[in-house]
């Protein structure tokens, strides 16, 4: 076993063994491409495990999807019974048989009819099978279950050697065979078929825990190929077998940079103004009555407004109840339902096991291809004890939705015990989520306030504040955080403070107006004063000018008089000098 678990990587890449796709959802993924081509595979498990179903689906998918006809040789059920059973899963074996794509052969082994004497071999079986294979050119063969021969053929020594020859012969024929076998006490099969079929062994198991049964599948060995070694839950749903890989083998989904609105303006703002990334997973947790469902509804509503398809899984309310309740906060989901953009799936969580819910989600998402999925709430899908199961299921669901590029919002009901309690109780699933919103009721001063905070949101700046969250008839919204001094005010305290602030600002603005008027008045008075002073100055100036003018005039008069006197005197002087 150990050797087979350590395949040489190089030989894997170059000469990887050829595989045949089973077409069974999930099985091809964990086997890395299907069952070994041209070799027999043993499928074993206890009664009612789904061996026949798995084998039949392998054959039908081969015939329908891969153009590989198949022979179904059954030893326990008759062809009519099998056809009937498969029809309930939507496979029409009759038609496939008419189209020569499938050949059904019922081998009846009746011990009471058979007497043996002397030597014999099972060439009759070989010839039958060979003829069936040749007539439709089959590539696939199912033997269900060959162990029935042990009841019908008395000589087990002959039978064993013949079986060994049969499997060898199938290999030589180059057909990919599925052989089913009943689980034994300590061996994989009651008669030790694993001895002969050594290439690939798949074990099916059905377990019951807490009255809920889960089918599980494990690849015990797969010679020459790496494979998932875990136990994988599988289901027989309305469309056949689906194996659910615990997680995808790789984490390689596309990460979109596109952002989509949460449907709540305030919340978009908290998430870097633009909302969630497309294809991300969002967890909304909160205690009862904090508004989880309303957030989910707003989110779905926003998607429909963008013209996208949305799928809402309501595990608490019926469709009508959801529609009515959301109408009360102004979200008219009814017309989206009518338009075909919204689909509400209401089921009781107790209706199915966890896995079955998952498959239901898978089927719907694959069939309907919504852009947005909301699950309200996930915590209802399981009881407290099965937290591990929920986590695995969620992981699978998230992986699946991410690969489909679906943006998913999950609400989760938590006990009302403050953020710390919530944080620990959601530790299991929160790490899977890209964004985590926490809703909490804050009771203070005789009233309760809904608050919302973004605990985490990968890959985007987000607000660290606790916002108050309000419902109105126009939907849900967040109120800008109200900071007063060093505390955040919510509810009545906020309202009272707001009123107080309004009154204060009102008063202040009045005061301002008064002061402005005062100033204007004073300016007017000053202006008048200035004018008066100016006039006075002007009066003075003209007076001074007048005086200067008069003085100048008087001075001029004195001069002319003096000149005239000098003139008359001048004559007298000259005469005196002559003498």
């Amino acid at each position: 076993m150990r050797k087979t678990n350590e395949p040489k990587p190089r030989s894997q890449e170059n000469g990887a063994i050829a595989k045949t796709l089973t077409g069974i959802f999930g099985l091809d993924e964990i086997t890395g491409g299907g069952l070994p081509r041209g070799r027999p595979t043993l499928v074993c498990g206890a009664a009612g495990c789904g061996k026949t179903m798995l084998a039949a689906e392998f054959l039908v998918h081969g015939a329908v999807d891969f153009d590989e006809p198949g022979v179904f040789m059954m030893f326990e059920e008759t062809a009519a019974e099998l056809t009937e059973n498969m029809r309930s899963l939507g496979f029409d074996l009759d038609r496939l048989q008419r189209q020569k794509r499938i050949s059904l052969d019922y081998v009846r082994v009746e011990r009471s009819e058979i007497e043996e004497t002397g030597e014999y071999d099972l060439d009759g079986l070989f010839i039958r099978l060979g003829h069936a294979i040749d007539s439709i050119k089959a590539k696939r063969v199912v033997l269900d279950t060959v162990e029935a021969l042990f009841a019908g053929v008395p000589n087990h020594a002959i039978l064993r050697s013949e079986l060994r020859r049969l499997f060898r012969w199938l290999k030589d024929k180059g057909v990919t065979a599925v052989i089913t076998g009943e689980r034994g006490e300590s061996t994989f099969t009651r008669y030790g078929l694993e001895e002969y079929v050594a290439d690939c062994v798949i074990l099916l198991d059905q377990r019951i825990a807490d009255q809920i049964s889960t089918r599980r599948l494990r690849i015990v060995k797969y010679r020459g190929s790496p494979h998932g070694t875990n136990e994988y839950p599988f289901l027989i749903g309305a469309k056949g077998v689906s194996v659910l890989p615990i997680t995808s083998l790789s984490l390689d989904h596309e990460a979109s940079a596109e952002r989509i609105s949460t449907g709540i303006a305030g919340l978009d703002q908290m998430l870097g103004e633009r909302g969630f990334y497309r294809g991300s997973s969002v967890l909304v947790s909160g205690s009862p009555g904090t508004g989880k469902s309303s957030i989910a509804a707003s989110f779905v509503n926003a998607a429909c407004e963008r013209g996208e398809k949305a799928l809402l899984f309501a595990y608490e309310e019926s469709q009508n109840q959801v529609l009515r309740n959301m109408r009360s906060i102004g979200l008219d989901l009814q017309h989206w339902v009518k338009k075909g953009l919204l689909r509400i799936e209401s089921t009781r969580p107790t209706l199915h096991g966890l896995e079955q819910h998952l498959v239901r989600i898978y089927e719907l998402v694959r069939a309907w291809k919504p852009e947005v999925v909301a699950v309200d709430p996930i915590s209802n899908l399981t009881s407290e004890r099965e937290d591990a199961g929920l986590k695995l299921t969620l992981m699978r669901l998230i992986d699946f939705l991410k690969t489909q590029g679906v943006t998913a919002l999950f609400t989760s009901l938590t006990s009302d015990g403050g953020p710390m309690v919530v944080a620990t109780s959601e530790m299991g699933v929160s790490s899977l989520m890209d964004s985590w919103l926490l809703l909490a009721n804050v009771a203070h001063n005789g009233e309760r306030t809904r608050t919302l905070q973004v605990l985490k949101s990968r890959g985007m700046p987000h607000s660290n504040q606790v916002r108050e969250f309000v419902f109105s008839d126009r939907g849900v919204d967040l109120i800008d955080v109200y900071l007063f001094g060093d505390q955040v005010l919510t509810g009545t305290a906020r309202l009272a403070h707001e009123a107080q602030v309004i009154a204060t600002t009102d008063l202040q603005s009045k005061d301002h107006a008064r002061r402005l008027r005062d100033l204007a008045n004073r300016r007017k008075a000053l202006d008048a004063q200035i004018a008066a002073l100016k006039m006075e100055a002007e009066a003075r100036a003209s007076e001074v000018e007048f005086q200067i003018e008069r003085e100048r005039f008087e001075a001029a008069g004195v001069q002319t008089r003096a000149k005239r006197i000098a003139n008359t005197r001048g004559h007298a002087d000259n005469s005196r000098r002559k003498r």
Partner: protein, 102 residues
């Protein structure tokens, strides 16, 4: 004795032997069968030999797995004996033929 005779008089023993090719085992089986019939059912039997290699489709009709297989088609119910019929006693038991008194 009289009762047995009247029961025997009505039906004929219709036997069918399935073989796969002319192997030594097939030949032995046919020979053994003829011997038993001649000894115990002289004049009251018919044997049809079917070679599955020639007529593979006939294997499904009588639900043949092993070869050689002897099928008692009549009288009903159908009985099957697999093997080369080398043990005469077992063949008689299988065919539900009461051996003739020695």
């Amino acid at each position: 004795m009289a009762a047995k005779r009247s029961a025997d008089a009505k039906p004929e023993w219709q036997l069918r032997l399935y073989i796969a090719g002319n192997t030594a085992r097939s030949a032995a089986a046919l020979q053994n069968l003829k011997h038993v019939c001649e000894t115990h059912l002289a004049g009251r039997y018919s044997i049809e030999v079917i070679d599955l290699l020639v007529n593979p489709t006939l294997a499904a009709g009588d639900q043949i797995l092993a070869v050689p297989t002897l099928v008692r088609k009549f009288p009903e119910p159908i009985r099957k004996i697999i093997g080369d019929l080398s043990n005469e006693e077992r063949v008689l038991v299988g065919l539900d033929v009461r051996p003739l008194p020695q």
